[in-house]
């Protein structure tokens, strides 16, 4: 079409929105789960020993660790149950495979209600190609959605 320089922003609107960058439109400003997710969620490599992960986690406020590849792709999850297994097992051996993940541009209010209905305390947020964005806690989701205490029960 005659343009000298053409660029493809493949991560697109989902990535932009999840990063809290400026948007316009009727739904602009709607809080998303990407904005509410905690980015400092602990991660570990598949080869790391469960015992070492458990020790590291003991010093943080998180009760779970996300197993990621070198590229940051989510492979699995170590929750309390998995962390209580053999300390010499690797994260890959102990992890829960294929945890449910959600895209960062989903409205946080919708997700907060969904988590409440299903009794989920936290969900993983990833990019469409599976890269970890963060961990969304239900409390954070409800707070970001502006749900009152009565609505949270």
């Amino acid at each position: 079409m005659g343009f000298e320089r053409v660029y493809d922003y493949a991560p697109g609107k989902a990535d932009w929105s999840a990063s809290g960058l400026p948007t316009e439109g009727t739904q602009a400003g709607t809080p998303t789960i990407g904005e509410a997710a905690r980015r400092d969620v602990p991660t570990c490599a598949p080869a790391e020993k469960v015992g070492a992960v458990r020790e590291r986690l003991g010093k943080s406020s998180f009760d779970r660790c996300v197993v990621v590849s070198k590229q940051g792709i989510v492979l699995g999850l170590l929750r309390e149950k998995e962390l209580a297994t053999d300390p010499e097992a690797t994260a890959e051996e102990a992890m829960r495979n294929g945890p449910a993940t959600f895209r960062p541009d989903e409205p946080v209010e919708k997700m907060a209600k969904r988590m409440r209905d299903r009794g989920a305390s936290a969900v993983l947020v990833t990019t469409p190609d599976g890269r970890l964005v963060g961990l969304l806690h239900r409390d954070d989701a409800e707070h970001a959605a502006g749900l009152g205490a009565a609505e949270r029960t």
Binding site: R5, Y7, D8, Y9, A10, W16, E24, G25, A28
Partner: protein, 67 residues
């Protein structure tokens, strides 16, 4: 062939006067789009639809995500 870029490069290019085009359907654009983006749905993207755009300034196209 377009060059793939990430958000930091998008911001830099926009500061330099790049033109931003969302190629999603009009309804999705109206709900939410990157600030300053114009909408030319992919099915309408041709020389005529882009005739008014500058040829010498960078053009950034985007949709929802990778998929």
């Amino acid at each position: 062939m377009p060059t793939s870029i990430f958000k930091d490069e998008v911001r830099e290019l926009l500061e330099g006067g790049a033109q931003l085009i969302e190629v999603l359907p009009r309804e999705e654009y109206q709900e939410k789009h990157l600030s300053g983006a114009i909408n030319i749905p992919l099915k309408e993207l041709d020389r005529e639809a882009t005739a008014w755009l500058r040829r010498d300034a960078p053009v950034i196209v985007y949709c929802h995500d990778y998929l």
